[in-house]
Amino acid sequence: MSITILEHGLHDSFQDLGRFGFAHIGINHNGAMDPVAAATANYLAGNEENEAVLECHFQAATIRFNTAALIAVTGADFTPVLNDEPVPMHTPVFVPPHAVLRFLHPGAKKGARTYVAVHGGYGLVPWLGSYSTNTRAHAGGFCGRTLRAGDEIGLRNKLPFTGTRMSPMNWHADTASMYAAGNTIRVIRGNEYGLLNECADTILEGNTFIVSSQSDRMGYRLNGSPLQTIEHAPMISSAVTRGTIQLLPGGQLIILMTDHQTTGGYPRIAHVISADIPKLAQTPINTAIRFEMISFQEAEALYLAQQHQMLQLRNACGFKSEVVGDTAR
């Protein structure tokens, strides 16, 4: 029971919702860039939200299913096809043995990461309690690295599906409301926000910034008008989080993303709110974004509302999975 990578993509890796508890020894969290898409893929595939998923960028991997499987594809729509038949997004899909999944197009500037979950999960060995890939430590996920052509990864579940063609379910999850429309990313003030001069305040909240080509899972380097501080006070290194916006010495900004280091020494000007992390994760390179400063209370409320929706989605998928289980038999 396995899949084989026929062609590898730009950056394919296994991720769950992150590896926590080891920052004190410098082990960063990793995890899916878009946690909503990852959890949704798992719910649709009848898994717990923290099961490993395959995260792909475009170009994405070409995958052969050596045995039947129940999968779900979420996140960016890279036009997935299974044996050349279009695969509906956000839908549980039965896959027959020997079927090949490939992704045809980068999705017209919308979305940057796609997720493939399989019912029962991938046959990976957890490292320090998580399946997320840590490429620095060369551990976690599949051999601590991105996938290469020829890799074979086990599947834990044997599915008694006897069809020879792809069979999607006639229902799907709609998570569009969790990605606010427009190019505005909501942020809250960081501890070093007060170091910005007046001009910088205006730039931060008024200007657009471009997600430069030097952006990846570690962080998004932004191009835009430089910001300056009222004084230059070298910071003592302390903790940073995913979504922390640091001010670099040249006045440019970097938004730390999922593979960020545990600590940093640059001023933390602002933090992207948790509720907008999925949207930011799906923002492709060369896209313009702008920031909107909101209150801490609003940020918390938005995240709790999003999580309530995810819980409802989980419950709905759970109910549907029972039906799916019957269909599979």
Binding site: I25, G26, A137, H138, A139, Q261, A301, Y303, Q307
Partner: protein, 264 residues
């Protein structure tokens, strides 16, 4: 990634060769601190304004204490130079505490738990005596640093190895120890242009010194290399160093380096 049995026993042998002093226990009084949000799912407690051993000691002890409380919704507690950061799942706290503001609930909960204690036992301390080879083939930045300081390379090595360093925190890379204070005579800022640094490399950045656990780009000034493996992902304890350790380097020649070399 499998660790070969031969290399694993080499690591255990190295552990026995290190001189571990007995655990030093002393009572640490936790003084006042500030709390600020680090994004909307983490809180940072700041115990001081500068890098001092006393404040760092309190941070390490406080982090251990808070971690041991297993507060619902808390995912991780970690100390840095002068701060302790608690990362939490806001929804989990919301479900547990039914509080409209998980951050507020956690902040109050932390204040209460910390006020309940007047002193907490400090964590154990170890003295690590670490072999280091300062052969120029392992020290690409040593000659330049010596020239800048108008010292001989031997004098730089002597100043570096005569000092005991405290490990203030582990960060940046898995197992990377941030140590201080490098003597002013040899303290040098990071390089402007980073280079590719080999595992085991010992560097200086300002008054900090550190050891790279993995190959990585970096701007620290590399003046030597240890044969010891300082991070092993598959070991029971992957990190060789922990915050609170005292480190002293002793020079070895290149033959000894190759005999003791633990790097793959």
């Amino acid at each position: 990634m499998l660790l070969h049995p031969a290399k694993y026993s080499k690591r255990k042998a190295a552990a026995h060769r290190k001189k571990l002093h007995a655990v030093i226990w002393y009572l640490v009084r936790v003084t006042s601190f500030q709390i600020y949000p680090l994004g909307d799912q983490a809180l940072t407690l700041q115990l001081g304004d500068a890098i001092t051993e006393e404040v760092n000691e309190q941070c390490i002890a406080l982090a251990h204490y808070l971690d041991g409380l297993h507060i619902p919704g808390v995912k991780e507690v970690a100390a840095a130079y002068h701060t302790v950061t608690i990362r939490y799942d806001a929804f989990a706290i919301h479900q547990h505490a039914h509080s409209p503001s998980p951050a507020e609930w956690l902040r109050q909960h932390l204040m209460q738990r910390v006020q309940d204690i007047t002193t907490i036992p400090a964590t154990s301390h170890r003295l690590m005596e670490v072999p280091a080879c300062f052969d120029l083939s392992f020290a690409p930045d040593l000659e330049m640093l010596a020239a800048q300081k108008q010292m001989t390379t031997d004098a730089v090595v002597h100043a570096f190895t005569s000092t005991r360093y405290r490990v203030y925190m582990i960060g940046f890379l898995p197992g990377f120890p941030y140590m201080a204070l490098v003597p002013q005579s040899i303290a040098t800022p990071r390089k402007q242009q980073p280079s590719l640094i080999q595992p085991g490399s010992i560097g200086i950045a300002g008054v900090q010194t550190g050891i790279y656990p993995l190959q990585s780009p970096g701007g620290w000034n590399i003046i030597g290399r240890t044969p010891w493996r300082i991070f092993d992902a598959m070991a029971d304890t992957p990190n060789l160093f922990q915050a609170g350790d005292t480190v002293k380097f002793y020079p070895i020649d290149i033959e000894t380096f190759h005999q003791q070399n633990q790097h793959l």
